[in-house]
């Protein structure tokens, strides 16, 4: 039986290495707070313009004819640095918060590559706040994430600051510009 144990464990772990995390039922509660990484500013403002210099606007989807992907799937390109619950599974969409919540004005920005056009886009990850944790579609991708003391790049932080309540519900991923280079 010990051999079977080892075999099963080995099989399971090798499968794990080949299995995308989005296909996995994740534990609720792990990520009570939302987030994502690679910012431009110490405290980026959700509706503010990107940092001057290496970034240009305009915002929006890359091309109306481009397949949009599945915004309820953690693997969706613009979620590359999320740690939280996807607003699109919680009554909102990939760029709008669920009804009755408030979008955090303070957030941080990430840079994700859109496979449809190969461009890097600046993504603003804003938390949706004021209602309890959504619980659907936990998405934990930590590309470029840093610890809490590196505040502007930490997706562990509950960014429901500047809203009425710090209670975290879910997270959106809003395209705010094209990045010239990976941030």
């Amino acid at each position: 039986m010990a051999r079977m144990d080892r075999w099963m464990t080995g099989f399971a772990r090798s499968l794990a290495r080949r299995t995308s995390r989005r296909s996995v039922l994740a534990g609720i509660g792990t990520a009570l707070v939302g987030g994502a990484a690679v910012p431009l500013l110490p405290v980026a403002r959700g509706r503010a313009e990107p940092a001057p210099g290496d970034r240009v606007t305009p915002s929006g989807e890359p091309d109306p004819t481009t397949p949009a992907g599945d915004p309820q799937d953690c693997g969706y390109w613009r979620y590359c640095a999320v740690d939280g619950f996807l607003s699109s599974c919680c009554g909102g969409s990939h760029n709008a918060c669920p009804p009755g919540t408030q979008m955090s004005p303070i957030t941080w920005l990430g840079t994700c590559r859109n496979p449809a056009d190969g461009k890097e886009y600046v993504i603003s990850y804003n938390d949706c706040c004021g209602k309890d944790v959504c619980g659907s579609c936990i998405c934990r991708r930590h590309e470029g994430d840093k610890p809490v003391y590196y505040t502007p790049k930490s997706n562990d932080i509950d960014w429901c600051m500047g809203t009425r309540e710090i209670i975290y519900n879910s997270t959106v991923a809003v395209v705010v510009g094209v990045a010239r280079e990976k941030g």
């Binding site: 144990d5 099963m8 464990t9 399971a12 772990r13 499968l15 794990a16 290495r17 299995t19 995390r21 296909s23 996995v24 039922l25 994740a26 534990g27 609720i28 509660g29 792990t30 990520a31 009570l32 707070v33 987030g35 110490p42 405290v43 740690d83 303070i106 004021g130 209602k131 309890d132 944790v133 936990i138 934990r140 991708r141 930590h142 590309e143 470029g144 994430d145 840093k146 610890p147 809490v148 003391y149 590196y150 505040t151 930490s154 562990d156 932080i157 509950d158 429901c160 600051m161 009425r164 309540e165 710090i166 209670i167 975290y168």
Partner: protein, 416 residues
């Protein structure tokens, strides 16, 4: 009276005794915790149920809970007084209304809220639980990390049970105890800020060190472990950065690697919510390890690797068992073959996906220490013999998810 009649009487008497009523009991009894506390107690926090549960790992018994409000439930235990401290965030209407942040003082025997200290409503909330609050080594002051996103520490005098001061820590975050009246914070440039407080808990001195790591290349995580006067910080790439805080200025000791070259190539690395623990009496370090590429620094582990801190040699690798299955606190267990199969499924599935893994470890400080493991996907707490690695079993504590973990007497062995 004949012998037969005597035997008959005896039988009747015995039967009557057997039928004696259950004694009448008194109403209104409430248990208290024993003094001295057990060596194998552990606090396990559940942000879904918004409480932390005290469990005795010697027998798996749940001893009680403390409520914690919104956020990650974390419990501090002083050595000097039989008390527990919990920092809580509440809203007047549950999830809305007026916010109040408080530090609640729970009786160490009663587990009842005995007092509270109102804090500025700006404490930081994060999925991370390490370094969010700290108790000074003299058990007098608690530092609570604030983020608005300006960074500061709220200092609470837990002896006098009053708020002392707010100390700004620009560019630096979190709090770790480092001396009787001193806290250290980690700064964005890879340095430390040392904050000393006076007898009133106000800022006495604030100094910044030189950077001791590069936060761009290989940041250290918040999940450090205390080893006497040192704090041990682990980096994303599994380097240990020991910081000696016995003197006025921190001394940064040479870093050392948890993994050898072959293991590094094989993608073994440290990860999880709380991935380091120290058993001070034997000078052993416990590290939660998994296989994964870059950006998996928060992925839970499948093994615990044990090191001798003096020689920095690895002593042992423990392949962890599964966390056990539960649903909203209800254990999924069975007798016989089905029970065996459920157990094995828990073992086999550990590490099968990034979120099915051990997220936090802790070690008790007694002579027969327990290694404790929890994970967000289960309400069970698993324990091991921390010296041999032998798996001792799981305790189901009624939690929906176990996210925070601490052994209350990590440095003291119990209330003095």
């Amino acid at each position: 009276m004949g012998r037969r009649a005597l035997a008959g009487l005896l039988l009747v008497g015995l039967a009557a005794a057997a039928r004696a009523d259950v004694p009448v009991e008194s109403l209104g009894r409430v248990e208290t915790l024993p003094l001295p506390p057990g060596p194998h107690w552990a606090w396990v926090g559940d942000p879904v149920f918004r409480h932390a549960t005290l469990v005795d790992l010697s027998d798996g018994r749940t001893l009680g809970i403390v409520n914690a409000g919104f956020g990650m439930p974390t419990v501090l235990t002083p050595a000097a007084r039989p008390e527990f401290y919990v920092v809580e965030t509440h809203y007047s209407r549950g999830s809305r209304g007026e916010r109040s942040d408080v530090l609640t003082i729970y009786g160490g025997r009663s587990l009842a809220a005995e007092a509270e200290v109102v804090l500025p409503p700006k404490r930081a909330h994060a999925a991370n639980t390490a370094g969010m609050l700290a108790l000074s080594d003299d058990d007098r002051f608690v530092a609570v990390f604030n983020l608005t996103p300006a960074t500061s520490l709220s200092i609470v005098d837990v002896e006098a049970r009053r708020f002392s001061a707010e100390i700004e820590t620009p560019g630096c975050s979190l709090a770790y105890a480092a001396g009787p009246r001193r806290f250290v914070s980690l700064c964005m440039n890879g340095a430390l800020m040392l904050v000393e407080v006076d007898d009133e808990g106000r800022e006495a001195r604030k100094t910044r060190s030189e950077p001791f790591f590069d936060p761009q290349l290989d940041p250290v995580t918040e999940k450090a472990a205390r080893w006497e006067d040192r704090w041990l910080f682990a980096s994303f790439e599994s380097w240990i950065h020991p910081v000696d805080l016995s003197g006025a200025a921190p001394r940064f000791e040479e870093r050392w690697s948890l993994v050898n070259d072959a293991e590094r190539v094989d993608d073994w690395r440290i990860g999880g919510m709380q991935h380091l623990a120290v058993h001070e009496p034997t000078g052993r370090l416990y590290a939660l390890m998994h296989r994964g590429g870059p950006d998996t620094h928060k992925q839970g582990g499948t093994e615990v690797w044990i090191y001798d801190l003096a020689s920095r040699e690895r002593l042992q690798r423990i392949e962890l068992h599964g966390l056990g299955f539960s649903y909203l606190g209800v254990p999924l267990r069975a007798e016989g073959f089905t029970g065996w199969l459920i157990d094995k499924l828990a073992d086999w599935t550990l590490g099968m996906a990034p979120d099915i893994a051990v997220d936090a470890i802790a070690v008790t400080q007694d002579a027969a220490p327990r290694l404790v493991t929890v994970g967000a996907v289960s309400g069970a707490v698993a324990s091991y013999d921390a010296l041999t690695g032998e798996f001792l079993g799981r305790a189901y504590v009624g939690n929906a998810t176990n996210v925070t973990l601490s052994t209350p007497f990590a440095r003291t062995g119990g209330w003095r």
